[in-house]
Every structure is written in structure tokens, then in C-alpha cells.
Amino acid sequence: MKRILEARGLTKAFGGLVAVDDVSFCVQSGELLALIGPNGAGKSTCFNMLMGQLKPTKGHVLLNGVEITGLAPRRIWEKGVGRTFQITATYPSMTVAENVQMALISHHKKVYSMRPFARELYREEAIDLLSMVELFDQIDRHCAVLAYGDLKRLELAIALAHDPIILLMDEPTAGMAPSERIKLMQLTTEVIESRGVSVLFTEHDMDIVFAHAHRIMVLNRGKLIAEGSVDAVRRDPHVQDVYLGGGTVFGREHASGSPYQ
């Protein structure tokens, strides 16, 4: 298996608080890797370091073996990393299609072009992407009036616009109704499988994680405490402790039996 995204000894300290402590892992090609852990475990900090929003105190991030540590988010995006946010980030003053067109404009290096009309540029491509996430019937709607679930779909289309090799999704189903969650995750799985994109995602809903992830990593208090297949992680006593409240767990242990190792 090819290593797509790799974290080596990633550490982030905010003053005396070590939010992420010596975390190493890698996302392999075509896999759906879940990063889970209780609130405050350091998932978002980890994500922000991978995506360039935060500079790690120590450690490295490699994309296809090339160092990308500390690069600006837009540079990391250029190298083929797409991202969706926990709280959706879209352009509320534009239409749904224009939101995706904007990403395409950037991808085709037309940001500084002064030739109108932007609303006609790459519209076909945008419509294709939007059809894929089942938003075809809403392409010309005002983004600000979209339902939250649809905004999440829109974000997925935006993140896929530059044909990324890997997608980082921070809580892709947060804030959605249970039935919507399942639908969205099924859609995500289908889309990325058909496009051969790898995914690293964080998630609070364990049903979603167990149903869709190929492999799971568990973060607690900044440290990776378990990693492996869905079943192995499920049975891991440390993980059960963390989630069911058996006190604090430090140290790291690899669960065995991952199909990807």
C-alpha cells in the first residue's frame, strides 16, 4: 500500500499544555481512516497541523513522501489536499454553483483574471460535481438559504473540485439529523471510492465510524492510544475505558490485525 499522508512525531504545545503529543500515523492510498477520541483529545489540533492552519511545535507532515510541514493552507491545497470543516465554510453571497466554480477558478489559476463573467466559467464541471453530491436541483440557489445537510454536501463538492489525492474531513456529519448522517456518509464513501481518493476524518458518532471506516485511530489527551481495524479498536480495553469512563489512559498501544498493515 502506498503511503499518501504521513505524520511523524507530530507535537503541538500551547504554552505548557501539550495538545498533541508525538503522534505518528499514515493514511494509505484508497483508505478511509477515522481519527476518534473524546472532546479535547487533540483531533482538531491534529487536523489543523496537517492542513497548515497551525504550525507544529515538533514533527513532520509528509504528502506522498514530500515534506509539507508548516506550509500555508493554500499551498497544501495546491499539492492535492482537500478539506471540509467542522463548521461549514462556504461563500454565503454566492449561488451553490458559484461556490464550486470558485474552487475551480482557483484550481485553474484564474484568480486574478479580470475577464467576466466568472459565473459562466467552469460551470459544467461544477454542475458535474454538484450532481455527484446530489445537489443538481439546487445549483442556482442562494447558498445562504441552503439546509445544513446540503451545505455539508456542497463543501464535499468544493473539496473535490481540484481532484485531490486526499480529503481531510473534520466531523463531516456534525450537526445533522441521524438519517441525514447515514445518507451523507454513504454518499461520501461512494464518491471517494469511485474517485480513488483517500480520506482522513474525525467523527463523534461511533455508529458512523464503525460502519464506514476502514481503519481507526484513537486519540486521548494528545496521545495516540490505539490504532487498527474496526473490530480490534472496538475490543481494545483502553478505548473502552476512554469512552465508557474508566479513568485516564496514557501510553500508546497498537491493536493488531489491521488489514492494512
Binding site: 493554500r74 484568480v111 483574471s113
Partner: protein
Amino acid sequence: MGFYVAQILTGLANAGALFMVASGLSLIFGVTRIVNFAHGSFYMIGAYIGYTLMQTLPGAIGFWSAILLAGLAVGLVGLIVEVLVLRPVYKAPELFQLVATFGVILVIQDLTLMIWGPEDLLGPRAPGLRGVVHIMGEPIPKYDIALLVITPFVALGLWYVIARTRIGILVRAATQDREMVGALGVNQAWLFTGVFALGTALAGLGGALQLPKGGADLLMDFNILTAVFVVVVIGGMGSLPGAYLAAVIISVVNVFGVTFLPQSTLVLIFLVMVLVLMIRPYGLLGREEVAGEHGQVGEPEVPIQPAGRRSRALVAVGLLVLAALPLYGSSFIQVLATDIMIFCLFAASLHFLLGTGGLVSFGHAAYFGGGAYVAALLITHAQTPMELAFLLAPIGAGLAALIIGWICLRLTGVYFAMLTLAFSQLLWSLVFQWGDVTGGDDGLVNIWPADWLKPTTIYFYFSLILCVGGILLMRHIAHSPFGYSLRAARDSERRAEATGINTRHVRWMAFCFAGVLAGLAGGLFVFSKGSIFPNELEIARSFDALIVVFLGGVKTLAGGVVGGAFFKGVEEILTRFEYWRLAFGLLIILVVTFAPQGIVGSIRKIFDRKVETRS
């Protein structure tokens, strides 16, 4: 040694009034998020009311109670203004309240003129504090010593209220999270009103307190406003100790400046401000704004569309009517139309920055006046041919925007606005005080266009082509990928950066572009008037443009142009009357209250509603 001590003491004494006014502004901004442009006006009426009270109340007790009563009276005026003018617009789009406070400035100016007349009033001396004392051999007015003693007590009292009382806790909580305070059952409306009244009372107190030193005149509102902005920004918005520290620094710098570099006191102050902000972007004791705190209030902007066939036809007809003006209009009308077009171009360039880019610049006059001065200086000192000088106006303004924009765009929101203001004031003070080159207050005259452009009608067409061309170009760019990228950066910086858009660079380019077009307007302006004076660079000119953009409607593409035409047209009609400011101010307040989307926005809303009911 004694000399320096005396200088510092004078500086500290001057800091008193400045601190009170600044702390009031800071407090109001902290809680209500309103940048109260009218704060100087409250300071001014504080001085006037104090003067009247001092005339009637006898002796030392009368003097000091007059000061206190002036503060209270101004607080009451502030309360009325808040309830009548600001309450209706809290829910209006971001910074729209600026326009309302600008209307208040105009109204207060004329009311003061009506009540107290146009003469400057000489402030009475404080009873018992008339002479000087000698400290280390240097004479220092006794009143200065009194101020020196009083100010720390006021500051301490204020600090006590904010840090130790329940009201203070509410105020501080509101500075951090207004919604939460509301959710906890605090009546926000009255909290805002109370804070506004307190802030304006402080301004009034400052105005009355400085009477024995400075008296009262009708220009003091704008004169103190810049100094107060500088203090608040250097100290850090919302920080009282910061305001005190900054007031002291500015006053001391000013006193030493007057002694050693009398030609550049103003430049010095703004230089200090620029330096502080470059090192500590949020002021000496200010804290970084939490991102998202200034989320867009009000309805989100609707997606932009190219003009429909009907609007295009309408614009074409309008342009034809305008182009045919020389056939039916006198040369006076043509000059007026030229004025309006130039102003519209200037306003539209700010609108591009503000509406499309979400960048609120408080100092856009720097590029308008800057462009005009570039041309005028070239003509005066280098005998440059008019055509070349005219061409260099937008280029010069663009270069200024390139440098200033690069520095200012390190900041966002209100700090960005303040830094742009600081730079424009820096430019203004340079022009104002560097008399040998710029003519200072006397301006530069005899800047006429080349012979072929001299006839009024020719110059009218020249302006028509360039102004309409510039405005259409901006519209064109708003619809281009660059315009969209700019809006993307405004709508969601996070998303834009995460999809490869260098938001700061995009904004920088937009800033330069707006500067170039403002410079073009400035170039047209100077040759149409034949002269240029520093007031084209000053804060009031920047505010004019801001008001126009908001009046026209920020969230519409035509807002700048329509607002500009409306503003200039109404101003032209009203300035014929004696108390035109009063009428104009009230008109602005009315528009703000009843049409919070601006003129274009409100018209569109009515139109949309009609379409909806029909379908």
C-alpha cells in the same frame, strides 16, 4: 532639567481631557461595537454647555459644578440620541451605524451654531487657579496642576466602576459576548443606552474641563476626533488603562513636538500611531479580536448578476441624457454634473473596496487627495505637461495604496479601518505642515488643464468618459474571477485559503485598484477646480465617501454611484440654505432609520416584494 519636567507636566495635564473623551469612545465601541464618529460633537457641546453654566453659576463651586453638570447634560443628550437614532439601526448591516452618527455630527454642528452663534468662546479661568506656580524654575499654570491631579481620580473612578461593580461586570461581559449577556436576562437595549450615555458624558466632561485652556469653537468636534481615534487605537480599543497611557504618550509627544519640531507636530503624532500599530497591531494594551466576532449582521448579500436587459436600457438612456447635457444645460449645470461624476467615481472606488472586498477603509481620501496633489505638485514644481501630470495622478495614488495597503492589510476589521485612517491623516498632516512644497493651508493654485481641455463642455465630456469608464470597469471586474475571489475572501477567509486563494494578496491588489481609481477621480478634480487644498485629504472627505457608500447600499453593485449622485445632488441643493447641515443630517438619519439597506438595497427590496406577490 526643569524645562523637561515642565514639558512633561504640561503633557500630562493635556492628557486629561483627551483621556476622558477617548475612554468614552473606547467604552462605547467595546460594548456596542459602534465607532461613534459623533464623539467629538459631544465633546464640543460639553464645552458649550459648560461655558453657559459657568456664566450663570458663581465662584469656585459654580465653576466645578458647571463642569459636572455639563457632563451630565451631555450624557442626557447622548441618551436621547442613542434611543432615537441608534436603537433602530443596531440590527442594520455592519458599520451602518457610522452613517447615523455622521448625521448626528451634522445636526449637532448646526444646533450649536443656532444656540451659541459662530464666534469662538473664550473659556473662563478657574476661580482660585488663575496664576502659575514655579516648578524647578519653570512656570506652570495652576489649572494644569489641577488637571494633573483630577485625571487620575477620574481614571481610577472609571476603573473602579468597570472592574468592581455589577454594572462594570455587565459592561465587560458585553464587550466579550453580547449575545450571552442577553441570554442571561440582561436588558441589552438599556445596557447599550447606559453605556452610550456614560461614554458621551465623559466626552462632555472632557469638553467642559478643557474650557479654561482651549475655550469652545465650532471646529473642535473634528479637531479632537482624530486625536481621540489615535489615542483609542494606540491604547487598544476597549482598554481604559490603554487609553490613559496613550493619551499621556500623545500629549507628551505633542508638547515636545511643539517645542522642537513645530512644523511637524501632526506628522509626529500619526507617525507614532503608525509605528505602534506596526509593532503591536492591536494597540499597546488591546487584545486581538476574536475571529468571527464581527460576523456580518443582517441579511446575507444576494448573488450578483449581470444587469438585465431592462436595467441596461435604463442605464443607456441615463447616459444618453447625461451625454446630451451640454445641449440643454448651462455651463453651471455642466460644472455641477462634472463635480457629481467625479464624486461618484471616488465613492464607487470605495464601494468596490467596501462592498465587494469587505474592507472598510476610513482613509480613502488619501488616494483621492493624493492623486490630486501628485498632479498639482508636478505642475507647480516641475512644470510637467498637464496630460502627463494627469496620467501620473492615478499612478501616484496607486503606488501610495500599494505601500499603505501592504501595511494595513496585516490587520482586519476595525483595526484595519483605523490604520487606514492613520495613514491618510499622516498624508494630510504632511501636506498641511510641509508648506514650502505643498503650500500648506493655502493649497496649490493655478492647476489648469491643457488648452484643448479648457472649455467647460470639453472637460465635461473628458470627465464623463473617464468616470463612466472607471465605474463600468469596476462593475466589469466585480463580475470577473478576480471580483469573485475578492468576495470569496470576504465571505469566508477560511474556505478561500483552503482552496488556494491568497486572500491577503487578492485584497492588496483590490486596495491598489481602488486607490488608482480614487487617484483618477482626484486628478479629474484638481484640473476641474484649478486648485487643491489639504481638506481634500482630510478625515471629513473620507467620511463623505463612507457615508455615500452606506447610503447607496453596501450590498448592491450600484450603491456607490447612486449614493454619490444623491449625496452631491442633495448637498448642492441644501447648501444654499443657512442651516443646511441640520437638514442634511436629519435626512441622513431618516434614510438610515427607514432604509437600512441603503437606497439601492431598499428599492430592490420593494421591487422584489412586488415580484413575489405577483408570482
